[in-house]
Amino acid sequence: SALPSMATPLPPPAPDPQFVLRGTQSPVHALHFSRGAQAQGCLLLFSGSQSGLVHIWNLQTRRTAATLDGHGGQCVTWLQMLPQGHQLLSQGRDMKLCLWDLAEGRSAVVDSIHLESVGFCRSAILTGGWPHWTLAVPGKGSDEVQILEMPSKTSVCTLKPDADAKLGMPMCLGLWQARSSPRPLLLAGYEDGSVALWDISERKMCSHVTCHEEPVMGLDFDPQQARGISGSAGKALAVWNLDRQQALKVHGTHRLTNPGVAEVTIRPDYKILATAGWDHRIRVFHWRTMKPLAVLAFHSATVQCVAFAPNGLLAAGSKDQRISVWSLYPP
């Protein structure tokens, strides 16, 4: 690894986690923050583990409030709360997407979708037209993404790149809708290191840019600035822009000391972002300038996921079975 150059002074000593959640007894693969269903409900953190369990953490007591077991012991890779605050989506390697009802202390699977791919790809949702919402999941064909209209589970379309594009499997997805346009858009990172923008209504790929040499592991997008970031199995983070013609352009790349980023997440206020590193470290950057702010060394194994809470709290889940919670640069 390279020594820091004279130009960039050493960052101040890295802080400690505010606290650490233990007890998953299995590597942590997915994290998601949500306010409880009640108006004054306290902050909850959902964690999905390799053993197939979803733990619900009460951040006031820092203890598990409940455990959900719905993926037959297969790794839980993605967790997302629906806007009304008591329905949770969980995706597992058992090729199932479960919809949980958590209202009033319940914990029952009320609906589930069979996925047609085991893939590593996490799903994504778009809830602009609530109570109707859109779900993007890895499709049947290894390079396909399937779009579903929810809650009716009607298939809207399947997005399949041109056969000669050779993008490989989709690795990560992001759905969003520009404020000016009613058309939902999908960002997908592919196995070949490229990021593609799809127009769902027209079922076509609008733009495509290769920004990594290795598979894209995670991406996040800032619609305010029409700019996104992606991390890969390689040693670089890529920042790309979306111009008015809906063309993706690489804005810049940021070299990392060690390869492998499992997830990239921008804080809801679009001020900072965090990466989950295979080198056991969480890296925090200034989103606008991409200036490195902190390297958080706490975990003793690969960090698999990072998530931000609405109040700015950062959580990271690791293969070392711990979830570290950090309070950094309070918004």
Partner: protein, 1087 residues
């Protein structure tokens, strides 16, 4: 007994007597009359009242000097008549009143006549009886303005008597009579209450006497304490009843400003008073002076009944004259609140009753003037408080603080008016801080050390009714009386209860930060404020007072706790031992090799870091107290929040636990108490339960602090305490933090090894306890069975039958066969055992071994570290590591695949300990070896015999002649200790390793020499112990060996055809030699 029921009869009898008396006025005649009167019925007497009274009154009115005795008997007789009759005519009442009054008056001197005490008493009683005999409403007509001079005369007469007489009886009687005259008599003869107009008339009339009555009574009240309490009590009562009657707000508010001229003669009109505003103001001012005098004097009256009466005085005056006597409210309230903590429970109770009554009636809170006065009083008290606390003695402080407490109680929520003024708050807090200054000169507190580790296992005791009130006894600079501290605590609690908690906490937090000088006191006050705010023991006088909400309280407590447990307030220097150096004794070794001839000295030096400028005892003592106060605070906060406190445990439990393990006795005691408090408050059964249930919080603290070990050197200690109080259910958590511990240990091998090794020890001890080996359990059971069996009387012991011998021989032959390699049925068993282990079907990766149980993984990791640490330069660490190693072996015994390679790697270092280390280490190493031998004997036997035994045996042999020659000093040398250690360790080891014959012989040969009486006694003992163990392994050859040394008796061959056996090597059989004694002892064991 009345004999004469009708007036006629009575008249017949009484007439001559009355005539006689009119003629000759003698005592005898008066007494005669009185005797006759007793035989007359009341009704007859009433009829004849005027007639009978005539001669008596005539006697009194006869001009010229009279004999006192006669006057007295006349007055007594008159009193008798009046007591049985009513006076129905106003004129008669007036005249009798004047005539009786005149009896005590000397017309010349305008003063009390110098008459006998008996006469005075008789007159007083007469007056009293007269007033009681007035019939119906005439008593009210009696009190018309024209009576003013005469009444005034009587009143001043009685006041004079009450004030100047020597006789207590007269004084009391005079006061009683005064009560009657002033309409205050509480006997049932005055049933009717007065209407408004009547009250006004009487009030107008009595107002003329008010100056006289009040001043005279004040003189009586403030007179000598020795005059008897009943006089003061009566005077007080008359004082306040009179004042509250005349000055009653009820009456005064109806008073017009224009005087209605009553139809009276001029002389009387001059005497009359009109109670208009000016008069009220003037009188009020004058009364204030008197009231001040009275309250000051009576507050400290030694008799409680007097003080009780004072409480009533305050109540009456404040309730009835709150406007007219507004100026007196200050002293009155002060007197009242000053008695809140009176030593007499009756006074206290009355006081509290009055306070409650006031609160109910909103006397203070509803009355702005009073509230202002109270605030003003509290302010001026606050102003003088620092000075008073400085200058007063304990008693003075006690009463001053009682007053403070009373003000707070009375003001209730209004106390915020005072607190909102920065100047007031400043004064008040300054005084509190000053008086709470601790005396920190006690050196014992710094010196006393905690030694035992296990006091945490005690279950919490519930001894006190108010457990939150229990705090450590402490000593103050400015007072010694424990009650004063109690008052101060109550005052702070009241402040917390009624005051604006945010304001107060902010203020005292500021003082806490401001200076070390204030810190302890500020913390004490903060603790009490919170206890008070929670209303734990505050008796609320003011209902519907809005208390601090639980959420707010929790928020405030959280912020205080953050301060208390912050780095700079929690980790204070409390002992001179520098953290990183002095923890253990530094052992200076003189670089010697174990088991080398020659005497060595080895010294233990207590190494203290004196080179640094050391903190003074006082500052350390002060720091200890600060920590203790903060710990107590945490306990109080727990009680204040109850179950809500559970949420704070995530940040608080760790620091408290850390202090429970503190080396300073006081701190660890207080911390333990705090934990007990937390248990109670949060509903945990025991400390173990508390720790167990919150291990996740503790682990969080431990793992984060391990990252900054230099800042948190005590972290390992907390883990240790946690481990000792946990159970196997916490293994996942423990496993998690152990990874942190090991990672940190790897990082700090040089500096912090000692504290880590003790954690590893606690960890392995816990694992060994949580996961007992099934074999061990079986062994334990067998052992107990064995014991049971051995307790039964053995009957078959010595009856060896021929079959037994035959069986023995057969077994022997079979074993010999096996030993020779002719294996037969053992093969099958071997095969059965070597069936490959079943493959877990669920395991999708068959090439990988199933993961180890967590505790085995931990033990493996730890044992790995032990291998490195076993050769640490500190003896203490080496010893501890050997213990840890021992435990590792125990935990790993059922996992030979892990144990054996590790044992293999540990071996060289272990050998080094056995052969090259100090005696203590040698002994421990032997213990480890013993455990290893029990768990993996085969592995060890060969290596032991090859690597260790020759060296040990060799050194024993070479050292033996030296110890045989040495003097008594030798037992202090290292060489001796090593010999002893080796001899003590060999025996059990040989037994456990199940050594072969040749090796056993090596051991025996090396030890034999030590059976000589020339060797030091202890070495002989140790050598005997070796042989005792050898006997268990191979009794026959040991027997032979011992007999070879010394044969106590000629052994006779069982058959004459056999040769006699000669065993003893040198000398004749039975001939004494240096070994005889020990050999005899051992042989006795063999039989």
């Amino acid at each position: 007994m009345a004999v004469f029921d009708t007036p006629e009869e009575a008249f017949g009898v009484l007439r001559p007597v009355c005539v006689q008396l009119t003629k000759t006025q003698t005592v005898e005649n008066v007494e005669h009359l009185q005797t006759q009167l007793q035989a007359v019925s009341d009704s007859a007497l009433q009829e004849l009242q005027q007639y009978i009274l005539f001669p008596l009154r005539f006697t009194l009115k006869t001009p010229g000097p009279k004999r006192e005795r006669l006057v007295q008997s006349v007055v007594e007789c008159l009193t008798f008549v009046l007591s049985s009759t009513c006076v129905k005519e106003l004129e008669l009442l007036r005249e009798l009143f004047s005539e009786l009054s005149a009896c005590l008056y000397s017309p010349n001197s305008q003063k009390l006549a110098a008459v006998s005490e008996e006469l005075k008493l008789a007159v007083i009683r007469g007056l009293s009886t007269l007033m009681h005999s007035a019939y119906g409403d005439i008593i009210l007509t009696f009190y018309e303005p024209s009576i003013l001079p005469r009444l005034g005369f009587a009143v001043s007469l009685l006041l004079g008597l009450a004030e100047q007489e020597k006789s207590k009886q007269i004084k009391i009687a005079a006061l009683k009579c005064l009560q009657v005259l002033l309409f205050q008599c509480d006997c049932p003869d005055h049933p009717r209450s007065l209407d408004e107009l009547e009250q006004k008339q009487l009030g107008d009339l009595f107002a003329s006497f008010l100056p006289g009555i009040s001043t005279a009574l004040t003189r009586v009240i403030t007179g000598d304490f020795k005059q008897g309490h009943s006089i003061v009590v009566s005077s007080l009562m008359i004082f306040y009843k009179t004042v509250s009657f005349i000055m009653a707000d009820e009456q005064l508010k109806r008073m017009s400003n224009v005087q209605t001229t009553p139809a009276v003669e001029n002389r009387v009109a001059e005497l009359m008073v009109h109670r208009e505003a000016d008069w009220v103001k003037n009188t009020g001012d004058k009364l204030t002076i008197l009231i001040k005098k009275i309250t000051e004097c009576v507050s400290v009256h030694p008799h409680w009944k007097v003080r009780l009466e004072l409480v009533r005085l305050v109540e009456d005056l404040l309730l009835r004259c709150s406007q007219s006597l507004v100026e007196s409210a200050g002293p009155l309230l002060k007197a009242l609140v000053g008695l809140v903590n009176d030593e007499s429970p009756e006074v206290q109770a009355q006081c509290n009753k009055v306070l409650r009554h006031f609160a109910d009636q909103k006397v203070v809170v509803g009355n702005k003037a009073f509230a202002d006065i109270l605030s003003e009083s509290l302010h001026s008290l606050a102003t003088s408080l620092p000075r008073l606390m400085n200058s007063q003695d304990d008693q003075g402080k006690f009463s001053t603080l009682s007053v403070l407490l009373g003000y707070l109680k009375l003001l209730g929520p209004k106390v915020n008016f005072v607190l909102n003024s920065a100047a007031h708050l400043q004064r008040l807090s300054k005084a509190l801080i000053q008086v709470l200054e601790l005396d920190v000169a006690d050196i014992k507190i710094v010196e006393e050390r905690r030694w035992n580790d296990d006091d945490l296992n005690a279950s919490p005791k519930t001894s006190a009714a108010q457990p939150w009130n229990q705090i450590q006894r402490r000593y103050f600079h400015f007072f010694t009386d424990e009650r004063i501290f109690l008052l101060l605590r109550q005052a702070c609690q009241l402040l917390g209860y009624y005051g604006n908690l945010y304001l107060l906490v902010d203020h005292f937090m500021e003082l806490y930060h401001e200076s070390v000088v204030y810190r302890k006191q500020a913390a004490m006050i903060l603790n009490e404020l919170i206890a008070g705010a929670a209303g734990l023991e505050v008796e609320d006088l003011h209902e519907k007072h809005i208390k601090t909400s639980p959420e707010e309280l929790r928020e405030i407590v959280t912020s205080i706790l953050e301060e208390y447990t912050s780095q700079e307030n929690w980790y204070l220097v409390t002992s001179i031992e520098a953290e990183d150096m002095g923890e253990e004794l530094m052992v200076k070794e003189s670089g010697l090799q174990a088991i080398t001839p020659g005497a060595h000295s080895y010294q233990v030096t207590s190494f203290l870091a004196f080179s640094k400028p050391s903190p003074t005892i006082c500052s350390m003592n002060s720091n200890i107290w600060q920590i203790c106060i903060q710990l107590e605070g945490i306990g109080q906060f727990a009680y204040a929040l109850g179950k809500d406190f559970r949420l704070l445990l995530m940040s608080v439990l760790y620091p408290v636990l850390e202090k429970a393990g503190d080396q300073t006795l006081l701190i660890s005691q207080v911390a333990t108490n705090t934990m007990v408090a937390i248990c109670h408050a949060c509903g945990y059964d025991s400390l173990r339960h508390l720790i167990n249930q919150n291990s996740d919080y503790l682990v969080n603290g431990i793992s984060l602090n391990l990252r900054h070990l230099a800042l948190h050197p005590h972290t390992p200690k907390v883990l240790e305490v946690m481990l000792r109080n946990s159970d196997a259910s916490l293994l996942p958590l423990v496993a998690d933090v152990v990874q942190d511990v090991l990672a940190t240990l790897d990082q700090f091998y040089d500096k912090r090894a000692a504290s880590f090794v003790s954690v590893l020890h606690a960890l392995l001890a816990a694992l060994a306890q949580w996961f007992p080996d099934p074999d061990d359990l079986r062994q334990l059971q067998e052992q107990s069975l064995e014991e049971e069996r051995s307790q039964r009387p053995v009957t078959l012991e010595n009856t060896t039958t021929a079959e037994d011998i035959e069986q023995f021989l057969l077994n022997y032959l079979k074993e010999k066969d096996v030993a020779d390699g002719n294996i037969s049925d053992f093969d099958n068993e071997e095969e059965e055992q070597s069936v490959p282990p079943e493959v877990d079907e669920n395991d999708t990766r068959p090439d990988m071994e199933p993961p180890l149980p967590v505790h085995i993984q931990i033990a493996t990791d730890v044992m790995e570290r032990c291998i490195h640490l076993m050769s640490d330069k500190s003896l203490q660490i080496r010893l501890k590591v050997l213990d840890v190693l021992d435990l590792c072996v125990v935990v790993l015994q059922s996992h030979k695949n892990q144990l054996l390679p590790l044992a293999h790697r540990a071996w060289p270092s272990l050998v080094h300990r056995l052969t090259q280390d100090t005696p203590l280490a040698v002994l421990r190493a032997f213990k480890v070896l013993g455990t290893l031998a029990g768990k993996c004997g085969d592995f060890l036997r060969r290596r032991f015999c090859k690597d260790v035994l020759p060296k040990l045996a060799g050194s024993l042999v070479t050292q033996a002649p030296i110890s045989a020659r040495a003097g008594p000093v030798y037992s202090h040398t290292l060489a001796f200790k090593l010999q002893l250690a080796v001899l003590q360790g060999l025996g059990p080891l040989c037994e456990r390793l199940d050594l072969g014959e040749g090796d056993l012989n090596k051991v025996a040969d090396a030890c034999l020499i030590y059976l000589s009486v020339k060797q030091p006694v202890k070495l002989q003992e140790a050598a005997r112990s070796v042989f005792l163990h050898l006997m268990k392994v191979d009794p026959d050859s040991t027997w032979l060996l011992l007999n070879g040394l010394y044969c106590p008796a000629q052994l006779l061959p069982p058959h004459p055809s056999l040769h006699p056996l000669r065993l003893q090597l040198s000398g004749a059989c039975g001939q004494q030699n240096p070994y005889s004694a020990n050999v005899l002892l051992l042989l006795r064991e063999l039989q």
